[in-house]
C-alpha cells in the first residue's frame, strides 16, 4: 500500500498466519516485544481469495514504535482458531466479542460466552448473512395505541383491528369503543392488573360512572 510522506503510518505490514500456527507464532511475537492492541473478527465471504472468516489482530511494538496487522483465517463450521488469551490476557474480551458477533470459536479460551448480545441470542449479528432489520422488535404490544405507519403519531386502535379482541364477541360499535376510550383511557390497564380481564369478555372498560349497557 503506497503511503505519502508526513501522514500517519498506521500499519507497517500485514502478515497472514495459518490457524494451526497462530498460538505458537503469538508466543514468538510476544517474545519479540509485540503486544496485542486489538483483535476483531471479519466475515470475508465477499472478499476474493480470503476464505469465509478471519481473525484480525493488531500488534504494537512499544520499542520499535511500529504496528503490524496479523490475519488468521478461521476455517470450518463453526469457524475455529486457537485462542491467544493465554499469551496476551488482553485478548479475553475481544475474542469473546468476535465469538459473539461472528460465531468464531477460540479454542482454549477460558470463558467463551457472549459478551454484548444476550446469552440466549440466536445467530451472529455481524455475519454478512445476518441481514439488517430481520429481527422482530420485542416491544410489548400497547393496548390502547396503534401506530398507523412510519412518521405518524399513534392513534387510538379501532376495534376491528384489535388483536386482543379477536374471536371475542363484539359488544360495542366502533364509535362507542372510541368514546369509551376517550372517557377512560387508562381504565383497561388498571383492569388488566386486577385480573378480571378474561372474565369480562371485553377489554373495554367504561368509566365507573357509566351505566351498564342493556
Amino acid at each position: 500500500m503506497s503511503r505519502s510522506a508526513g501522514r500517519l503510518d498506521t500499519t507497517d505490514e500485514q502478515i497472514w498466519v495459518e490457524p494451526g500456527e497462530w498460538a505458537a507464532r503469538a508466543r514468538d511475537l510476544k517474545h519479540e516485544g509485540w503486544s496485542l492492541t486489538d483483535l476483531a473478527g471479519l466475515d470475508t465471504i465477499a472478499l476474493p481469495g480470503r476464505g469465509a472468516f478471519e481473525v484480525v489482530a493488531q500488534l504494537l511494538n512499544h520499542e520499535l514504535k511500529r504496528r503490524i496487522m496479523v490475519h488468521v483465517p478461521a476455517p470450518g463450521e463453526p469457524p475455529t482458531v486457537p485462542s491467544v488469551a493465554g499469551v496476551w490476557p488482553v485478548a479475553d474480551f475481544p475474542e469473546r466479542e468476535a465469538y459473539d458477533m461472528f460465531g468464531i470459536r477460540f479454542e482454549g479460551h477460558p470463558n467463551l460466552t457472549r459478551i454484548l448480545m444476550p446469552d440466549e441470542w440466536e445467530g451472529y449479528p455481524l455475519r454478512k448473512s445476518y441481514g439488517v432489520g430481520k429481527v422482530p422488535i420485542e416491544f410489548i404490544p400497547q393496548p390502547m395505541m396503534q401506530t398507523q405507519g412510519a412518521g405518524q403519531s399513534p392513534k387510538p386502535r379501532e376495534s376491528d383491528t384489535d388483536v386482543d379482541r379477536l374471536g371475542q364477541p363484539e359488544e360495542e360499535g366502533i364509535g362507542d369503543h372510541e368514546a369509551a376510550m376517550r372517557r377512560a383511557p387508562f381504565a383497561r390497564a388498571a383492569q388488566g392488573e386486577a385480573g378480571d380481564d378474561a372474565a369480562s369478555g371485553s377489554h373495554l372498560t367504561p368509566s365507573p360512572k357509566e351505566e351498564p349497557r342493556p
Partner: protein
C-alpha cells in the same frame, strides 16, 4: 430451612432478590450484582461481585446493556455517512471516534489532509480531551462525595459545548471530522472563544486542585486504592491515563504522532504509583497540557484549505454548481452513491481521553465500509478492573470505577 436459605429468604423479602446470586454461610461469601442501574457505575455497567463481608474477592464486568450495533450500522452507510454512526460510540469523545475512522479511511484512499485541516482536527481533539476529563472530574468527585466537583466540572464543560455548537452546529455527536479533513471551516470569531477558554481554564484547574489535591477525605479515599502494577497494565492492555498512572510511558500523540502533534511541544505526564490518586494527578496534568496545546494550535493555525478538495471525494463548493457541469456531475454522484474506496484493510489509532482508540476498516472496493471495527479504550480498560478491585472494599471499588472512567457507549457500541 438452612441458614443459607433463610438468609436468601430474608433478602428476597426485603425486595433485594435480584441483586443476590448466591450466599455461602460457611464461607460468608456472597455473590451480588452491582448494577446495571447503579449511580456509581457510569451508565449501564453491571459488576458481579464476590464478596466476603465488605471485601471484594472477585469482580466480573457484565456488559452489553447499551449495545446498539453501530458496527453493523456502518456497513449500511456510505463512507462519508458512517462518520455519523461512529461518532455516537464514545459519546464523551466524539471527535476522537471520527478522527480514528477518518484516518483509517484516508489510509485506504491514500488521501492527504491539508495543514489547516490537520490543525483544526488537533484543536478539536484537545478541546475534546478537556471536556471529557471535566466530566470525569465531576463524576468521580460526585462518586466520592465531593459534590461541588460535579458543579464545577459541568460548569466549565459548557464553555466547550458552546464552542462545539458554534463550530459544528451540535453539542455532541458532531460528525465534524470526515475522511479528507473537516466538513466546515472554523467560524468567524473562533479565536476569541478559544482565547477565552485558554485564559479561563488554568485558573479553574487550580481551583479544582485546591478543592481535592490536598483534601484529607479525598486522599483517604484515593491514595493506595485500586493499585495496578506496570506489568498488569501491559498484560491487560490498559492505555491512556490509567496506563500512564501505572508507569507505562506511552502516548500515541508523542510516540506515533498523527495530525499536527509532531509539530507541537508538550509533556506526557506519567506517575508510578498506579493508584486512584495517581490517575487523578495524571488527568489533572493532562488537562493543563491540553490547554497549552490549544494555545499552540491557535498560534500556528495555517491558512488554506481545511479539507482535501479532490472532487471525486469531496462535494464541490455551492458556487461551483451554478457554472460548472463537471461540478454538478460530481455533486450528483457523491450525493446519490458516494465515493468508492480501494479494497484493503487499514487500522488507525488516536489517543483518546481514555486511551488508544483505533478503527479497523475494511473495504471491498465499494461505496460502503465492508467492516468497521472500533477498538474502544473503555472496552479494553474494563478488563483490568478486576485486578484493581480484588482485595479492596466495596467503597474502594466505587473509586476505582470512577478512576477508570469507562463510557458505556464506547464499551458496548
Amino acid at each position: 430451612m438452612s441458614i443459607a436459605e433463610s438468609v436468601i429468604q430474608t433478602i428476597e423479602d426485603k425486595g433485594a432478590g435480584a441483586f443476590v446470586e448466591s450466599y455461602d454461610p460457611a464461607e460468608e461469601n456472597m455473590v451480588i450484582n452491582m448494577g446495571p442501574v447503579h449511580p456509581s457505575t457510569h451508565g449501564v455497567l453491571r459488576l458481579v461481585l464476590e464478596l466476603s463481608g465488605e471485601t471484594v474477592l472477585d469482580c466480573r464486568p457484565v456488559i452489553g446493556y447499551l449495545h446498539t450495533g453501530i458496527e453493523k450500522e456502518c456497513e449500511d452507510q456510505t463512507w462519508r455517512g458512517a462518520v455519523t454512526a461512529v461518532t455516537r460510540m464514545d459519546y464523551l469523545a466524539p471527535f476522537h471516534n471520527e478522527q480514528a475512522y477518518s484516518l483509517a479511511v484516508e489510509e485506504l484512499l491514500d488521501l492527504e489532509v491539508p495543514p489547516r485541516g490537520k490543525y483544526i482536527r488537533t484543536l478539536m481533539s484537545e478541546l475534546g480531551r478537556l471536556s471529557s476529563h471535566l466530566v470525569w472530574f465531576g463524576t468521580s468527585g460526585l462518586d466520592m462525595g465531593a459534590m461541588s466537583a460535579m458543579f464545577y466540572g459541568f460548569r466549565e464543560r459548557e464553555l466547550f459545548l458552546d464552542f462545539y455548537e458554534m463550530v459544528t452546529g451540535l453539542r455532541m455527536n458532531h460528525g465534524y471530522n470526515i475522511p479528507g479533513g473537516v466538513w466546515q471551516d472554523l467560524p468567524e470569531g473562533w479565536e476569541e472563544v478559544c482565547d477565552n477558554i485558554v485564559s479561563i481554564m488554568p485558573g479553574r484547574i487550580d481551583d479544582y486542585e485546591s478543592l481535592l489535591t490536598e483534601n484529607p477525605i479525598w486522599l483517604e479515599r484515593t491514595k493506595g486504592v485500586g493499585i495496578m502494577s506496570t506489568e498488569d497494565a501491559v498484560r491487560f492492555g490498559a492505555t491512556g491515563p490509567i496506563g500512564r498512572a501505572a508507569g507505562l510511558d506511552w502516548d500515541l500523540r508523542r510516540d506515533m504522532p498523527y495530525e499536527a502533534y509532531g509539530e507541537l511541544s508538550f509533556d506526557v505526564p506519567v506517575a508510578s504509583e498506579g493508584d486512584v490518586y495517581a490517575r487523578y494527578q495524571v488527568r489533572m496534568a493532562e488537562m493543563r497540557e491540553s490547554v497549552k496545546l490549544v494555545a499552540q494550535v491557535m498560534d500556528k493555525m495555517p491558512e488554506g484549505d481545511y479539507k482535501n478538495m479532490d472532487p471525486k471525494i469531496m462535494p464541490p463548493p455551492r458556487s461551483e454548481l451554478n457554472r460548472s457541469m463537471e461540478a454538478v456531475i460530481h455533486h450528483f454522484k457523491l450525493v446519490t452513491q458516494g465515493y468508492t474506496v480501494p479494497a484493503g484493510d487499514a487500522y488507525a489509532a488516536v489517543e483518546s481521553p481514555r486511551g488508544e482508540l483505533g478503527a479497523y476498516v475494511v473495504s471491498d472496493g465499494g461505496t460502503a465500509p465492508y467492516r468497521c471495527h472500533v477498538r474502544d479504550p473503555s472496552f479494553i480498560n474494563l478488563q483490568s478492573l478486576a485486578s484493581m478491585a480484588k482485595g479492596g472494599l466495596v467503597a474502594d471499588l466505587i473509586a476505582v470505577i470512577a478512576s477508570v472512567d469507562p463510557v458505556m457507549g464506547g464499551v458496548d457500541r
